[in-house]
């Protein structure tokens, strides 16, 4: 049942592979959400220039 043999992390079952990839993607979405979208004032101010320079909706 090993469909994912020659990708990152050899020979894991395809179901567990799907879960782990989804988890990694969610972690990425969480991180981008925190730096780019958080309404917490201190986070906004710390990442201010980066937010503007990456064209996140700001202010």
């Amino acid at each position: 049942m090993n469909t994912a043999t020659i990708s990152l992390g050899a020979s894991t079952s395809s179901q567990s592979r799907f879960l782990q990839l989804a988890l990694a993607g969610l972690l990425g979405i969480f991180i981008v959400g925190f730096t780019g979208f958080s309404h917490i004032e201190a986070v906004h101010n710390a990442a201010h220039d980066a937010r503007h320079s990456m064209a996140f909706p700001c202010h």
Binding site: A24, A47, S53
Partner: protein, 257 residues
């Protein structure tokens, strides 16, 4: 959890490198324009966000979450909440923000590309980077162009919702075009990509701004180009690092390059 660990490892290296490159580009291309805009902003009456509806929700989030000790009361002058001091501190926070955001985007890119077979080499990485640029910079930037401080804008939350919806629709659309070879699905993909722009991004009540048109135009160009370079570097580095990791180049199911 070996897949998760490897994805995080590849994404961390790629995000770190691309984030540093982006921060360096910003230091020359975009941050000087932001500082210029802040001069106009100060002249127009202090650093106050133009949308008056947002602070109610903001204050609630800030007090319940943690952050600043006394959010509103401690800032009688102009600045609300803590902010890095201008100069080296502000620059370092910008570098850190870019690296963290870069790693976040890299995690998304690596995870999604693994579903499609993985990025086999730097050239495939460049194509994946182009897709990331189209999804995360180009598509939302059409409706919500990069803003300078003191630019008029609609309420924050509707804009954030439109931004996320546009990114998701464009990503699904591009994936359908790239990985499903059927005409009806391609037509659906085009509809998905076009739809957010027919709905339209939230617009400000008034377009009055102290920011000169030329300055804003310069900023839009600078943001677009710096983000293009960021995404190309990000994709290429993922391709290189992942290739080293698996020792297997080009095992992509649907190869572009």
């Amino acid at each position: 959890m070996s897949v998760f660990r490897n994805v995080v490892f590849v994404a961390a290296i790629a995000g770190l490198l691309a984030g540093i490159v982006l921060a360096c580009l910003q230091a020359y291309a975009t941050v000087p324009l932001i500082l210029k805009a802040e001069v106009y902003e100060q002249a127009g009456g202090g650093h106050e966000h133009p949308a008056p509806a947002a602070p109610a929700a903001d204050a609630g989030a800030a007090t319940t979450a943690m952050s600043t000790p006394a959010p509103a009361a401690a800032a009688p002058a102009e600045e609300e909440g803590w902010a890095p001091a201008d100069g080296a501190e502000r620059f370092s926070f910008n570098v850190v923000s870019n690296i963290v955001t870069g790693i976040g985007f890299a995690l998304i890119l690596v995870a999604f590309s693994e579903f499609a077979g993985g990025i086999g080499n730097w050239r495939q990485g460049v194509f994946w980077g182009l897709a990331g640029f189209a999804v995360f910079t180009l598509a939302p930037g059409l409706g919500l162009p990069p803003e300078l401080p003191a630019m008029p804008a609609a309420d924050l939350l509707p804009r954030q919702i439109w931004w996320v919806a546009t990114v998701v629709a464009t990503a699904i659309g591009l994936a359908l075009i790239a990985f499903r070879r059927s005409l009806p699905l391609t037509i659906l993909a085009v509809a998905l990509i076009v739809a957010p722009h027919i709905v339209g991004a939230p617009q400000p009540a008034s377009y009055d701004t102290p920011i000169p048109e030329g300055l804003h135009h310069q900023f839009v160009v600078a943001v677009t180009i710096t983000n293009l370079v960021f995404w190309l570097v990000l994709g290429a580095v993922v391709g290189i690092v992942r290739g080293r990791f698996t020792g297997q180049a080009s095992n992509l199911r649907d190869s572009f390059a």
